[in-house]
Amino acid sequence: MNYTPHTGEDVASMKADVGVTDIEELFVDIPAKYRLKQLLNIPAPLSEQETIACMNSLSRKNTLPSLTLTGAGAYNHYIPAVVGHIISRAEFYTAYTPYQAEISQGILQAIYEYQTMIAHLTGTEIANASMYDGASAMAEAAVLSAKTLNRSKIIVARSVHPEYRSVVHTYCWSNGYEICEIPYAPSGQIDLDMLHKELDENVAAVLVQSPNFFGCIEDIAPIAEATHSCGALLVAGFTDGMALGILKPAGELGADFVVGEGQSFGNPLNYGGPYLGVFAAREKFLRRIPGRLVGATVDKNGKRGFVLTLQTREQHIRREKATSNICSNEALCALAAGVYLAALGKNLQKLAALNIQKTQYLKKQLLSIPGWKEVFAAPVYNEFAVTCPDAGEVNEKLKKEGIGGAYELQKNYPELKNTLLFCATEMVSKEDIDKIVAILK
């Protein structure tokens, strides 16, 4: 394929107008010895039909499970048909960042509405237009806290998603910040005593997640109190964003920043990306938070409209003094989330409740298998940890039946041997669960 519309005639007359006889002349500024003499070494071009065939055979080399019990930071939820129909509108997906407000009111208003929904869901006053993903959103919140308070110690709960912690690690290492991890209590929640011990005048932020990586709901209020007592900031994350539909949001409980993964809101699993970094905060941080912000204003005739605002925070104005380097973000994923949340509306609560029902049933059934034990006592949303005689074998059995298995916690928590993190969403039926238990019994 070749998407250039140039006819031989066009090229000839354009070359004449430009004053070259050979296209090669356009590249004179490139030292001759660096100019390639032969074609690049990549596979031969394909027709459109061949391209589709090629992509098809690649995609078929994957094996899709008929149902999945895997959660651990990415969730298999039903995506209402309207989402795909809207985000495939060419005016949305073939546009760039809305720098020119007059011809970008569509995406600008949609993002403004998204920001509003996220602020409400997280119990904060403001939310930005999106970050890359939940992990980088948390890392930027940590760095922002350190820069804001001019402190260099970051505390993170070990019950936070391991990959999130590793991203926080990378961002903090590069800035020379110290990181301190707080163990989890037998309940599966953060160990409050240990937290108190580690809190000091140099702590910039405390990072937790609720629901946390074990599916457990953290008790945010006391954590916030402790954190604030030494002037640090609380960064509260979450795993499955849908939980916000039924759980009291961290923003209401004292968190300064609420960050997390918004994939659950209308974005497919996509083998890990693109996802949606949610970033919400207290009003007072409005002029310090990273990322694009859409604001409502009026045009010169007084008509309401929307623009990218407070850009003095951003790289293209502030350069090295910017509050972040982010430029392109996840606009289309945020649009999907907005459509998803508008489609669900108050039903998001019902749906979240349904996730809890399925999860409780799965848990109960699994624990009825001899040798299977519950690991943590804290209440859970749609994930929970259990120990069993042989975790590896369990996933093998499930895989044989075309079922996506549970996450093996031992990978990241050596102490949690044969411990599996199960997830049940609205996509899993009672029939499925009974079948699963039958397989494992």
């Binding site: 354009m14 990549i42 071009p45 994957n62 509108r89 760039y96 693109p274 380097n325």
Partner: protein
């Protein structure tokens, strides 16, 4: 247009949730009152209202599929539909990132091959696909540079960045704890070699160079530049956002770049989505391979596997493996174009830019009158003098002619900058019509400047009060 919240009515919804099929438990009992939220104030609309709301919003947005979008530095080329269809295949969209490797061989093969293709196209030793966008790639690249010197036990805290550079360059360097020193451009729009000489020393970790730079000009003294940096043990970082200027023509790796980030959503035609998602792979030379983010794909006898076993890695810069679904589109693009296609894409992109440059030269100031690469940068200075018309006015007026305006006021070293990047997918007729519009506006500037200052004249909304937006920020709607 009304907000979705203003259209909301209690009791409406766009689809019900089915009854639970499992024995139900009492939520308060299993979760505990104190953890439950008391109210959920999301919009309540019927499906028809929802569809009309967003469909009508889409009609207030301008995309490449509607017309010419010469937004400089953003490479708004046409996004082939076949790539969208490929990326929508269930095999690609449906897999969980923690699916066991055996079940994900197709995805891993695609990513592994994508890395190989990028290596051959850019002449690098290895690539990571993990970064989410260009700026994220820059950050990742700078972190690897940091690690490189940490490993060598050298303390280098400075990064040299030309004054013409994109804002993300200094911002990314700063975000990982470097200090920035600004490098001057010379009279012909390239690096001021003497200034570079005077700035380069053992405290400098790297020079962050965009080549071709944001003026659309290729650095003629690139050999010299590379020598100066490397002689002092520094590294040469390339911002590859402008890669559409040289695919199949030259390779950064051959020229001496040690690290380069790409923007798949520019050079490799993945749609920009109204602001994202993009994808910012980073390529490195041999010396930096060990520092790439984990996990990395390794090929074993049992097929592809994810491995974290790279002790010197900087770690992760995001969860999972990157913007996989975006990468699928770029992969399909590379496969369908092949070497011939990529080269001719670059050739036509550069021809188009030079054609516009030549056609508009008589009417607008061209600060650097040289052969340009994929884009050209004019200055609106003359129009300010002739009619008090500013570049922003010209941009708004272009909207009336049915075009998305070029990038304006960037690069900052050009006053009243108009940065025009046509890309290769635009035909001569399109370029001619656009140039006619620009020339008309230049005329209007002399004869009827007010008309230009009043633009746009037929959009849903006219010029926005941005000062009000910043003074009285309203970023979330509140129920009156």
């Amino acid at each position: 247009m009304e907000l979705i919240f203003e259209k909301s009515r209690p009791g409406r919804n766009a689809g019900n949730i089915h009854q639970s099929d499992v024995p139900s438990v009492k939520i308060e009992a299993v979760i505990g009152e104190k953890y439950l939220r008391t109210e959920l104030d999301l919009p309540e609309v019927a499906e028809v209202d929802l569809i009309r709301h967003y469909t009508n919003l889409s009609r207030r947005n301008f995309g490449v599929d509607l017309g010419f979008y010469p937004l400089g530095s953003c490479t708004m080329k046409y996004n082939p539909k076949v790539n969208e269809n490929a990326a929508a295949m269930p095999g690609f969209t449906g897999l969980h990132p923690y699916a066991d490797d055996e079940s994900a061989q197709g995805n891993m093969q695609l990513m592994d091959e994508m890395q190989q293709y990028l290596c051959s196209i850019f002449g690098m030793a290895a690539f990571t696909l993990q970064p989410a966008a260009g700026a994220h790639g820059e950050l990742t690249g700078m972190m690897m540079i940091k690690k490189y010197f940490e490993k060598k036990g050298e303390k280098r805290h400075l990064i040299l960045i030309p004054d013409a550079a994109h804002g993300t360059n200094p911002a990314s360097s700063a975000l990982c704890g470097f200090e920035i020193v600004t490098l001057r451009s010379n009279s012909e729009g390239g690096v001021d070699i003497d200034h570079l000489q005077s700035l380069m020393n053992e405290d400098v970790a790297a020079l962050m160079l965009t080549n071709p730079n944001t003026l659309g000009l290729f650095e003629r003294n690139i050999e010299e530049v590379s020598r100066i940096i490397h002689e002092k043990g520094g590294l040469l970082y390339g911002d590859g956002a402008n890669a559409n200027a040289f695919l199949g023509i030259t390779r950064p790796g051959d020229i001496g770049f040690d690290v380069i980030q790409l923007n798949l959503h520019k050079t490799f035609s993945t749609p920009h989505g109204g602001g994202g998602p993009g994808s910012g792979p980073v390529g490195v030379g041999k010396a930096l391979v060990d520092f790439l983010p984990v996990p990395r794909i390794v090929k074993t006898d049992e097929g592809y596997r994810w491995s974290e076993n790279f002790p010197d890695s900087i770690g992760r810069v995001r969860a999972f493996y990157g913007h996989f679904n975006v990468i699928v589109k770029a992969y399909a693009y590379i496969r369908s174009l092949g070497a011939e296609g990529l080269k001719s894409a670059t050739e036509m992109a550069v021809l188009n830019a030079n054609y516009i440059k030549e056609r508009l030269k008589p009417h607008f100031d061209l600060p650097y009158d040289r052969i340009c690469m994929h884009e050209c940068v004019f200055s609106g200075k003359r129009q300010v003098v002739e009619g008090g018309v500013h570049t922003s006015d010209i941009a708004k007026r272009l909207i009336d002619f049915g075009y998305h305006p070029p990038t304006i006021y960037f690069p900052m070293i050009v006053p009243e900058a108009l940065m025009i990047e046509p890309t290769e997918t635009e035909s001569k007729e399109t370029l001619d019509a656009f140039c006619e519009a620009m020339i008309t506006i230049a005329q209007e500037t002399k004869e009827n400047p007010q008309r230009v200052k009043d633009a746009p004249l037929n959009t849903e909304v006219s010029r926005m009060d941005e000062v009000l937006a910043a003074r009285k920020p309203d970023v979330c709607w509140k129920r009156k």
